[in-house]
């Protein structure tokens, strides 16, 4: 059980580079159970890399990330960090869901199969036992009538909602969102944000990279601004938008609002 004093997600001085360029130059953050952290920043600031590092889709080059007490992607051996084999990282990822900018639904499966595939193939559940659960999840995201549709037959907003249901099917402790509405037509952005809003209200712990400032203001507990691989500032949402402390944040908010 995590208590109020112990964050569910903790990043400490996380560093990451691609070749010679450092994308993350020492990021630290805490997210407590049931909290929503929104990460904003200009393109190239490292937002996407940060969430990808959180569930070890990208290995990090320094620092540490723990989720629910699990040291993600690494093991500590005599004070040194060593990468875990992919098979063991996969076990850690069972507890962390992720939603991608471009949905990444499996195009050869129906919406329902997309939601059921991980519980069946990863957790070894039997299809008849979890079918109802999967149907409920799709109904929860408003797609009860699209169970047998293939991703190619769905709009972007519908695909993204299936992707959220698919992530929820693993009953994760936390969900990571990487710009979930950036690839959507403007008219379908709202339906995805609605689902995310409900999720946040239901107590899901979320880290959300987004440019949707209205959503951030309404749903986020904390907002974090990244630039050049560093945290510019982190503050409770009201404070962050009402009175950003840093000039860089003020400038960024002016440019996108």
């Amino acid at each position: 059980m995590s208590t109020r004093t112990e964050p569910l997600i903790r990043a400490e001085n996380v560093r990451k580079r691609f070749g010679d360029s450092w994308i993350l130059r020492g990021i630290s953050l805490d997210v407590y159970k049931g909290e929503v952290l929104v990460v904003i920043g200009p393109s190239g600031s490292g937002k996407t890399t940060l969430v990808r590092c959180m569930n070890a889709l990208e290995p990090i080059d320094g620092g540490r990330i723990t989720i629910g007490g699990r040291l993600m992607g690494c093991r500590e051996h005599r004070g040194r960090m060593a990468p875990l084999p992919e098979r063991l990282i996969a076990r850690q990822r069972r507890h962390v869901g992720m939603v991608f900018q471009r949905f990444n639904l499996f195009p050869h499966m129906t919406a329902l199969d997309n939601v059921m595939v991980a519980p069946i193939r990863v957790l070894g559940r039997r299809a008849p036992d979890i079918r109802q659960e999967a149907v409920d999840l799709l109904e929860r995201v408003g797609l009860g009538s699209k169970l047998d549709s293939y991703p190619g037959q769905l709009s972007g907003g519908q695909q993204q909602r299936v992707a959220i249901a698919r992530a929820l099917a693993m009953k994760p402790e936390a969900l990571l969102f990487d710009e979930p509405t950036s690839a959507l037509d403007p008219e379908t952005v709202g339906e995805v944000l609605d689902v995310m809003r409900k999720l946040a209200k239901s107590g899901m712990t979320m880290v959300v990279v987004t440019h949707e400032m209205a959503f951030a203001r309404e749903v986020a507990d904390h907002v974090m601004m990244l630039d050049g691989g560093l945290v510019v500032e982190t503050a409770p949402a009201e404070t962050f938008f009402a009175a950003p402390a840093q000039a860089r944040t003020q400038q960024f908010l002016r440019s996108i609002l």
Partner: protein, 253 residues
């Protein structure tokens, strides 16, 4: 040309011609299936993180693609026997006796086919968006699980059109087998030719039969592709079309 002989032959071929045709189809199916399976293994080896495995697979493709099928057949059967390295013992499977030439033929055709199939699989796997493996990993799938349930089914759809091409080449390729004494369709016809000297009629008949086989196969393939493409996203369809076009141009041996 003796038209009556040809028409007679087409309408009422001797029983050994039917047998030969059956052998040709059987060899093609078995060798193609084995080639697909082995080709997948080679493609995986080429994508392995281990250097020596990649090197081994690369060498395999280099050798089998870089030498003519006819030479491979002669080397694997006649050459090996002549040097005394290995003699193929008859394999008895119930009522079926698989003689040495047939073993060598299946082995060579399968290994040759695997080299081509591995390249087809490799490019198909590369075509699949990296987001698919990201999503599979994010859902806690191990690399093996992700490959089996997410990557492979999608790769297979892309592979289907070039696979049809390969099978056509395989059917035609079996006509080389008479050189090592396999009594398949074309070999049988060559025997009949030596006995009757109706050379033009018989080889024309052979060409018509191969054309018939490959045409039927083409229809079957198109039907299967349409069936599998029913729900596909436009992007996947495009990728499949691009690959099949490329392999049509690159299908010469």
């Amino acid at each position: 040309m003796d038209t009556r002989f040809l028409v007679d032959f087409i309408l009422n071929p001797p029983a050994i011609v039917w047998q030969g045709l059956l052998v040709t189809v059987a060899i093609s199916v078995v060798a193609q299936a084995a080639g697909v399976a082995l080709g997948l293994v080679v493609a995986l080896a080429r994508r392995s993180a281990r250097r020596w495995l990649r090197f081994l697979a690369g060498t395999y493709v280099w050798v089998w693609r870089g030498t003519p099928l006819l030479v491979q057949l002669l080397l694997v059967y006649t050459g090996v026997a002549a040097a005394g390295f290995y003699r193929y013992p008859d394999i008895v499977l119930g009522p079926l006796v698989i003689a040495g030439p047939m073993q060598a033929a299946l082995l060579t055709l399968a290994c040759n086919e695997a080299a081509y199939m591995s390249e087809i699989f490799r490019s198909a796997i590369q075509t699949i968006d990296s987001g698919q493996s990201d999503a599979a990993r994010a859902l806690a799938m191990t690399p093996a699980t992700a490959f089996r349930w997410i990557i492979l089914p999608q790769a297979f759809r892309i592979v289907l059109p070039p696979l049809g091409n390969e099978f056509t080449l395989m059917i035609k390729g079996t006509s080389l087998l008479s050189i090592i004494g396999v009594r398949e369709f074309f070999g049988t016809l060559q025997d009949i030719n030596s006995a009757t000297f109706r050379t033009f009629e018989i080889f024309l008949y052979a060409a018509l039969c191969y054309l018939f086989l490959t045409t039927v196969l083409g229809f079957g393939q198109r039907w299967l592709e349409r069936r599998m493409a029913r729900h596909e996203a436009p992007a996947a369809k495009l990728a499949a079309a691009r690959l099949s076009r490329r392999s049509l141009l690159g299908a010469q041996r």
